[in-house]
């Protein structure tokens, strides 16, 4: 059993690692590459470097290896051995004491500041490891960074697909206002309520026309084609009879009304879709959407 706190204290006691010199002095070609890649048109970086580049100067490069006295590397190794094998960075706090001039040659040191845990996180149980890096020009500290990572044991349950609840799918409550709709689904028709008075199309159905007040609704049969107007991806909570995540899309039908339904496919606003009918049992057929093949 590894005593993580004791190991952390031992590494922290070693203090600041030996300075590691940057490969190159602060230079314009690397500044310009950085500005170009990030699309930064700031005109001021002709003699000084963008402050956020500070870490770039001392990166290990393509074949870089951690130095033996690097405290983050040492702590990662201990946590690996203790079974906390995954890592994710959580915080980077950089302070720039001054701007760095072209030609200045940086070095960097690192200390282990803090190791806290074990903590239960969404990713799994783990330890937060905080290091402090200090950049120097000669003996002058010019920038600092507190950097925190979470070193964790991946939570197996979090990556497994949650089991679909055994309970039966939720059924619609069918009443006199909505009966025509579900009857239509059983027959493979997507029906839109139409006012018997003024002809206004409306969905969801109701007993009275909001436009003219008539209470004799009829319906027309939609072509069942439209585009995604909005959608949600439902992850939580679990829904009886459903495997999460699933997509619920609000579709604007070609006839002009909007209708909700599950979408089987990658959702996006404006995606052309068409209706499909899925028979659940003799009583119930559910309409849903799928991307159109002709889009």
């Amino acid at each position: 059993m590894i005593d993580i706190e004791k190991e952390a204290a031992r590494i922290a006691e070693q203090g600041e690692s030996a300075p590691r010199l940057a490969r190159d002095p602060v230079n314009l070609p690397m500044i310009n590459n950085w500005l170009e890649a990030l699309g930064d048109r700031h005109p001021g970086y002709t003699e000084v470097a963008p402050p956020a580049m500070v870490q770039v100067w001392t990166m290990g490069g393509l074949h870089g290896q951690r130095t033996l006295d690097d405290p983050l590397g040492a702590m990662m190794k201990i946590l690996d051995e203790a079974g906390f094998t995954s890592v994710v960075a959580t915080n980077s706090d950089q302070t720039y004491h001054r701007y760095l001039r072209v030609g200045e040659h940086l070095s960097v040191t690192s200390t282990l500041e803090d190791v806290t845990g074990p903590k239960k996180t969404a990713l799994g149980e783990g330890w937060f490891v905080t290091t402090r890096s200090t950049w120097y020009v000669g003996d002058e500290p010019v920038a600092e960074m507190r950097f925190r990572v979470l070193k964790f044991r991946p939570a197996e349950k979090a990556v497994q697909q949650p089991e679909a609840p055994k309970a039966q799918a939720i059924r619609p409550s069918i009443n006199r206002d909505t009966e025509y709709f579900w009857d239509g689904c059983r027959e493979g028709e997507l029906r839109i309520q139409r006012c018997g008075g003024c002809g206004l199309l409306r969905h969801p159905p109701g007993p009275m026309c909001p436009e003219c007040g008539a209470t004799k609704p009829k319906y027309l049969v939609s072509d069942g084609r439209g585009v995604v107007y909005s959608y949600v991806v439902h992850h939580h909570p679990q829904v009886p009879g459903k495997q999460t995540p699933f997509v619920v899309a609000l579709v604007e039908l070609d006839e002009g009304v909007r209708m909700l339904g599950e979408l089987d496919g990658e959702p996006s606003i404006g995606l052309p879709v068409e209706v499909v009918f899925t028979k659940v049992d003799d009583e119930l057929t559910m309409p849903s959407w799928r991307p159109r093949a002709d889009r």
């Binding site: 950085w34 402050p51 960075a89 915080n91 980077s92 706090d93 720039y96």
Partner: protein, 127 residues
């Protein structure tokens, strides 16, 4: 520039070219930032933006708004959901503190998967 002022929303299209060229320009050669096959093998959806680039984008968002005379003193960020290739990274910001020439700006960078970065930037503006 007063407390409560909002920064204009800014969208970054994280194309594969963007993800890769910024990773290389920040001298970060980890494969998850340029090799999609390996990124997927390691459990990611795609290649994703590296931290040094996120820091640089947060700085750029603030200096684009504050102007080239502003001096950047601090960038403190908290990292969330990865920003994958083909994501649109949307930045929002607001001034949350001011004392004389020192401003604190709160920044959020968000993709469809959630907050990629939240944090504060401290700058000094000319008198």
């Amino acid at each position: 520039m007063r407390i409560g002022d909002s920064l204009p929303e800014w969208h970054v299209e994280a194309t594969p070219t963007f993800v890769i060229s910024t990773a290389i320009a920040t001298r970060d050669f980890q494969d998850v930032h340029h090799d999609r096959d390996l990124a997927i093998q390691r459990g990611s959806k795609d290649i994703f933006i590296n931290i040094l680039t996120t820091t640089g984008l947060v700085q750029r968002y603030v200096t684009d708004w504050a102007g080239p005379e502003a001096l950047v003193r601090q960038v403190n960020i908290r990292l969330g959901a990865p920003c994958y290739a083909y994501d649109t990274l949307k930045f929002f910001g607001q001034v949350i503190g001011r004392s004389d020439q020192d401003l604190t700006i709160e920044v959020v960078g968000r993709t469809g998967h959630g907050d990629h970065v939240t944090g504060t930037v401290k700058i000094e503006v000319p008198a």
